[in-house]
């Protein structure tokens, strides 16, 4: 294959090759060893996400149009069911308001300060990885909406806040999110019931105290611990799928099943920080 591939004969090809290699390696070195984000990547991300947005909206339009007839039939059935449920919820709402009033009164009496709630920026998943090496995906919100690097991303699964991952790259109108399934992401976690701490990495919870072995069961819930402040506490990560750990080791290794179905994820929320109550 390389016979007759002399430098003299293919001088132009080799010069181009070295220039392109130098450019690629330069970019790699800059981003791998520098803390400053790479501006051209953000510009490129914005450009390609603009095209991605167009394709996703077109695809959605066609799939929604095709599904609208059967959807109408289902809607009629759902409407009748919802009417019944509505009456029940009205009653529940009254009870809830009563309880909330009572709760705030009790908190006031005990001198508790109201906890700040996180600002959630809603976003739509508009694309994913082009190769099978990485697992990130792209959302349609960027720095224009206040999104910053390292912000946690969640999704609602059956009404529960579940951790999706964190923002790793921010463009003006789109961002790249790395999911918790990626082995380069570390999430401080805790077992919800027995409060044993650990570190979740690529859906494996490590460094769980061996003492926990008699108490943990498959199906136990794992949530974020809030330790070191990178993720807020009490966000669901997953359920314990299997427990392992060698005799001589001091900690256990728990394999987790995530709450989020990452391949069917459509809507997510970026946690942008706390809206602190002035009182």
């Amino acid at each position: 294959m390389f016979k007759g591939l002399s430098f003299r004969k293919h001088k132009k090809d080799f010069v181009t090759f070295f220039i392109l290699m130098a450019l690629s390696i330069g970019m790699l070195v800059y981003t791998a060893f520098s803390e400053i984000s790479f501006k051209p990547k953000q510009v490129g991300l914005d450009f390609f996400s603009f095209c991605q947005r167009g394709i996703v909206s077109t695809g959605k339009f066609f799939s929604q149009t095709a599904g609208s007839i059967s959807e109408l039939r289902n809607l009629k059935k759902e409407y009748n069911t919802l009417l019944k449920e509505y009456a029940e919820y009205q009653q529940m709402k009254q009870d809830y308001e009563h309880l909330e009033q009572e709760n705030s009164m009790l908190k006031e009496l005990l001198g508790f300060r109201e906890e700040g709630s996180m600002t959630k920026i809603p976003a739509v998943v508009i694309g994913g990885e082009t190769n099978n090496f990485f697992k990130s995906f792209i959302i349609n919100q960027g720095s224009s909406k206040g999104i910053k690097k390292d912000m946690p991303v969640i999704a609602y699964v059956d009404g529960y806040q579940s951790l999706v991952g964190k923002v790793v790259e921010v463009g003006t109108f789109s961002s790249v999110v790395k999911p918790i399934t990626d082995s380069s992401l570390y999430v401080p976690a805790v077992l919800q019931k027995f409060r044993y701490r650990g570190l979740v990495n690529g859906l494996v919870m490590d460094f769980v105290s061996r003492e926990a072995s008699s108490r943990i069961n498959c199906g136990d819930l794992v949530v974020t611990s809030g330790f070191n402040g990178s993720y807020p506490e009490n966000i669901y990560i997953g359920k314990v799928k299997s427990i392992s750990g060698k005799e001589y080791e001091t900690s256990l290794r728990l394999e987790l099943e995530p709450f989020v179905d990452f391949f069917r994820l459509e809507y997510v929320f970026v946690l942008a920080g706390e809206d602190k109550d002035e009182n």
Binding site: M1, F2, L5, H10, K12, D13, T16, F17, L20, M21, L23, S24, I25, G26, M27, L28, V29, Y30, T31, A32, F38, P40, K41, G44, L45, F47, F48, S49, C51, Q52, I55, V56, G59, I126, G127, G128, E129, T130, N131, N132, F133, F134, K135, S136, F137, I138, V168, E169, V176, K178, D182, S183, S184, N201, F262, F263, R264
Partner: protein, 170 residues
């Protein structure tokens, strides 16, 4: 078709494929593996048009992927430039049949992509940031790319993006 003309059309095709791979194919494939159609186009284009066009096309293909993935910028650009360059070295040296050789060629090109990804990641990525090169997903990608190769080769030939004459011809 003239080399310049076919280069720009191929570049556009590669960009479209990258966008489709990250949107339409990504949502259709769900948790399945997506073939790297852009890589197949780059490899065939390089093999028929030569090193110069192949490596430039590969560089832009990689750069486009770098922009929309979480990998470090330059990672895919580096891999695809090398692939474009190496694939270009077989210009006018081998004979392609319609099915077996395109499949075999893409099999080795995808394998090379995996090896280059592993080496690049080892050299430049921080610890713990290793691409899933040695995974069943990547093995499946090799198989899928090889299966789709003859079809894409045929399309490229029919659209005259790569020369239609017999392999080894001018």
């Amino acid at each position: 078709m003239k080399t310049k003309e076919s280069f720009f059309i191929s570049l556009l095709l590669v960009f479209i494929l990258v966008i489709l791979q990250s949107t339409l194919f990504y949502f259709i494939a769900s948790d399945m593996v997506i073939p790297d159609f852009a890589l197949i186009v780059v490899a065939f284009f390089a093999a028929r048009r030569g090193m110069q066009e192949g490596q430039i096309l590969g560089f832009f293909n990689g750069l486009a992927e770098d922009f929309i993935t979480s990998s470090f910028p330059g990672f895919n650009a580096l891999i695809k430039t090398i692939i474009g360059f190496l694939a270009g070295t077989i210009k006018n040296k081998m004979l392609f049949d319609p099915v077996i050789f395109p499949s075999l060629f893409i099999f080795f090109v995808t394998l090379l992509k995996g090896i280059l990804a592993a080496v690049t990641a080892y050299l430049f990525f921080p610890e713990g940031y290793f691409p899933a090169v040695f995974s069943s997903r990547f093995l499946l990608e090799i198989v899928l790319n090889s299966l789709f190769a003859p079809l894409i080769y045929l399309i490229l030939k029919k659209t005259h993006l790569i020369p239609n004459d017999i392999w080894g011809g001018k």
